[in-house]
Amino acid sequence: MTRRALAVAVIAALAFVMGWALFVALPHWYRRAPPAAATANPSPSPVDAAQAAAARKITATLYYVSDDGMALVGTQKEVPYAAAVADQARAILEAQLAPALPLVSAIPAGTKLKQVFVTERGDAFVDFSADITAGHPGGSLEETLTVYTVVDVLAVNLPAITHVQILVDGKEVDTLAGHVDLRQPLAKSLDWVVHDTH
C-alpha cells in the first residue's frame, strides 16, 4: 500500500516537473534567447528601421476575410514594436485579434491570446483560449482561413518564424473544428491571400 502511494507521489512529482519545464521554463528560456537574434537583425519590416526607436511602432500586414468569404485580404496596420521575436509575435497577434470593423477576421471574436513562444528553429507556438474552437463556425474553408490567418500573420511579418502551430488552452489539438490538421507546425501559404490596396 505504501509502495503504491509512493509510486503515485513520484509520478505526480514528475508530472509537475515536466509541466513546469514545458510551460514555464521553456517559454522563459526562449524569450530570453531571441533578443540576440533580434539585435543582429533588428527590423522585421524595412519601414521599421528608421522609425523603430522613436515611434516604437512597426507596420505589419494583418489578414481579414474578403467580402466574398473566399480568401484573406492583407491590410497594413501599425503595431507596437518589440525587441524579442516572441514579444513582437504577441504584439502582431494582439493587433490581429482586436476588433477592426468593418473588417471581419477569420479568428472567432472573443478569442484571447494566452501564450506565444518561438523556438530557435523558427517554429512559433501560439496558444489561444478555447474561444477559437467554441466560436468557430466550422467548414473546411473557414477553418483553413482561420488557421492561415494565424500562420501567415506571423510568418509573413516575422522572417524569423517559418512555421506556426496553434495550441488551444495550452494543449496541442487535432483541429479547430474537424478539418485542418494542427498537429504539426504549418508553413505559411499565400494561396489564401488576395491582394488589396486597403
Binding site: V65, D67, A106, P137, G138, L141, G178, V180, L182, A187
Partner: protein, 507 residues
C-alpha cells in the same frame, strides 16, 4: 339429334385443326423442372403455334387436379380445393370461380388429352392452390411448396490482378465459400439454385462457373494462376436481394514492377511467391469506396441560420451516394458512419484503410463568416503544408505464414496520403469538373489544404464541401432532395470518369 351432330362435327374439326397445327410446329421444347420438397422431376413442354404448353394430365398428376372433359360444351373443367377453372377450346380465357383471367393462348385438345399454355400454371393454378406455386419462365422452373431456391446471377470481370465475381442472390440466402482443390465452392443454405445467368470470359484465374455436385452449390473452376480469394457480402442490395463478391487474386510474377536496384529485397522466398500477406490497394479499377459523412454525434459541424446541421446533410448525401455508386458502378461502398454517431477522425480513414478501399471521399458542408459565400469546393491534401518530411516507405522484412520472409512497405499512418498526392489531386480535379456541370461552384473550387481526415488515407482521397450552410439560400438547397441528388449525380459521374482515367495496372 341434330344438335349432337353439330357438336360432334365441331369437335372433329377442332381436333383436326389441333392435329394440323401440332403437325405444323412439332418442336419439342426443353422440359421444365418441377422443384418440390420431395424432389425434382421434369415436366414436358410442347410448342404449339409458338406457345409453350403443358399437358393438363401432367399438371393434374402433379397438383391433384380433377379434370373433366365437357365434350358437350367443347370445354374442360379443372377442379381442385373446391374451386373450379373452366376453359373452352376456342378462347384464350379461363374462368376461376366466375372470375375471368386471360391466357396467352386457348387450350388445345389433342386426342383425348388437353394442352394448356404454361402461363396457365401461374395465372390459374397458382391462385387456387393451397401451396406456393411459382413459375420461373427464364430458368424453366416450376416451384411447388416451401422450397428455397434462390435465383443466382453471376458475372466475372477482370480488374487488373484480381478477377471479381459478383453473385447476385435473390432472395438473400446464407452461404459459405470453401476451396476444394482447384474449385471454389459457394454453398447456399437452399434446396437448390436457380442459376439464371452466368457471364464470364475464362482466364487463367477463373475458367468457369457452373452448378456444383450438390443442388445448392455453385462451383468456380479455378485457373492455374489462382492465388487466393476474398469474399465480401453486400446485403440489402435491394430489400429482397443480396450480393456476394468474390475476388480471386492472381499469382504475381516475381516483382514485375520493381525497377532493378530500387530497394533491393533483403531475403527472397526460395521458390514461388508466398500468398500475399498484405493487399496493397491496387490501382486496377475501383473495387471498393469508402464515403465519410463529415462530423456526427456530438459534433454537429457547421450550422445554417435556419438550423440545418452539417452532420445531417453529410449523412443524407453520403447515403444517397452509396446507393447510387453501388447500383451504377457495382462497387462495394462503405460508410464511415451510417447514423448520427461520434466517429473519431482517425477512425474515418481507418475504415478505408482496413477495408482496403480504392477511394476515400469525405463529404462536408461549408461555413463562412460571410453570408454571401456560396458554391461547392473540392479539397485534396496539400503537398507540403505541414513541413513534415516527405513520406518514405521503409521496407521491412517480415516473416510470412508458411515460412520465409517478405519485404513489406511499412508506411507511417501520418504520411499515408503523401504517396497518393498526385492521384488525389487528379481525383479532386475530376470531381470538380463533374460537379461544375451540375451545381454552382465556389470562386476557388479546387483547393489543397492539410486536411486532418485525409492525412491517414492510404488511397486516393478527396473532401467535398457540398455548399455553404451559412448562406441562407444554399442552406435551403443543401437540406433538399433536388440539390442533394444533383451533387450525388455529379459525384457519381466524377467517380466513373476517375475510374476510366485510371486504367488497370497502371501504377
Amino acid at each position: 339429334m341434330h344438335l349432337r351432330f353439330v357438336h360432334a362435327a365441331a369437335a372433329a374439326v377442332i381436333s383436326v385443326v389441333a392435329v394440323v397445327s401440332a403437325a405444323q410446329t412439332p418442336a419439342p421444347a426443353a422440359p421444365y423442372t418441377v422443384v418440390a420438397r420431395s424432389g425434382r422431376q421434369p415436366l414436358a413442354v410442347r410448342t404449339i403455334n409458338g406457345q409453350e404448353m403443358f399437358a393438363l394430365d401432367d399438371l393434374a398428376r402433379l397438383f391433384n387436379l380433377n379434370v373433366r372433359d365437357d365434350a358437350l360444351a367443347g370445354g374442360i373443367t379443372v377442379s381442385a380445393n373446391n374451386q373450379t377453372i373452366v376453359m373452352t377450346a376456342q378462347q384464350p380465357l379461363a374462368s376461376i370461380g366466375g372470375r375471368m383471367i386471360s391466357l396467352p393462348a386457348a387450350p388445345v385438345r389433342e386426342g383425348r388429352s388437353w394442352l394448356v399454355p404454361v402461363d396457365f400454371v401461374a395465372r390459374a393454378l397458382a391462385p387456387i392452390s393451397q401451396q406456393r406455386v411459382e413459375l420461373r419462365k427464364p430458368s424453366r422452373l416450376l416451384l411447388v411448396g416451401d422450397v428455397r431456391l434462390p435465383r443466382i446471377a453471376a458475372r466475372a470481370e477482370p480488374l487488373g490482378a484480381v478477377t471479381r465475381v459478383t453473385v447476385d442472390v435473390a432472395p438473400q440466402t446464407p452461404h459459405t465459400v470453401t476451396q476444394e482443390g482447384s474449385r471454389l465452392l459457394l454453398r447456399f443454405d437452399a434446396d437448390a439454385l436457380d442459376l439464371a445467368d452466368v457471364r464470364l470470359t475464362p482466364n487463367d484465374v477463373l475458367q468457369g462457373i457452373h452448378p456444383g455436385d450438390a443442388p445448392s452449390i455453385l462451383a468456380f473452376d479455378l485457373g492455374p494462376r489462382f492465388a487466393s480469394f476474398r469474399v465480401s457480402d453486400q446485403p440489402q442490395l435491394t430489400p429482397n436481394a443480396g450480393r456476394v463478391v468474390v475476388d480471386l487474386s492472381a499469382q504475381t510474377e516475381a516483382a514485375p514492377n520493381a525497377p532493378p536496384g530500387a530497394a533491393p529485397p533483403v531475403a527472397q522466398p526460395p521458390a514461388g511467391e508466398p500468398p500475399p500477406l498484405l493487399d496493397l490497394p491496387s490501382q486496377a479499377g475501383l473495387r471498393s469506396i469508402v464515403i465519410d459523412p463529415g462530423h456526427g454525434g456530438d459534433d454537429a459541424g457547421a450550422r445554417g441560420t435556419a438550423g440545418t446541421l452539417e452532420k445531417n446533410v453529410t449523412l443524407a448525401i453520403a447515403r444517397k451516394l452509396k446507393a447510387a455508386l453501388e447500383s451504377r458502378l457495382g462497387v462495394r461502398v462503405l460508410l464511415s458512419r451510417d447514423s448520427d454517431q461520434n466517429v473519431n477522425v482517425d477512425q474515418r480513414a481507418a475504415v478505408a484503410n482496413n477495408n482496403k478501399a480504392d477511394l476515400f471521399l469525405s463529404i462536408h458542408a461549408n461555413a463562412s463568416v460571410r453570408a454571401g459565400a456560396s458554391g461547392v469546393e473540392v479539397f485534396s491534401m496539400s503537398a507540403d503544408g505541414n513541413g513534415a518530411p516527405p513520406a518514405r516507405s521503409t521496407p521491412e522484412s517480415l516473416p510470412v505464414l508458411g515460412g520465409g520472409s517478405r519485404d513489406i512497405d511499412v508506411i507511417p499512418w501520418e504520411t499515408a496520403q503523401t504517396r497518393f498526392l498526385d492521384q488525389s489531386g487528379s481525383l479532386a480535379r475530376t470531381l470538380e469538373a463533374a460537379l461544375r456541370e451540375r451545381v454552382p461552384m465556389s470562386r476557388h473550387a479546387l483547393i489543397q489544404a492539410p486536411l486532418r481526415v485525409l492525412v491517414g488515407a492510404n488511397m486516393p482521397a478527396a473532401l467535398v464541401e457540398a455548399g455553404f450552410l451559412t448562406n441562407p439560400a444554399q442552406e435551403k438547397q443543401l437540406a433538399g432532395e433536388e440539390y442533394q441528388n444533383a451533387v450525388v449525380q455529379a459525384l457519381v459521374d466524377g467517380i466513373v470518369r476517375f475510374r476510366a482515367s485510371a486504367p488497370g495496372g497502371a501504377r
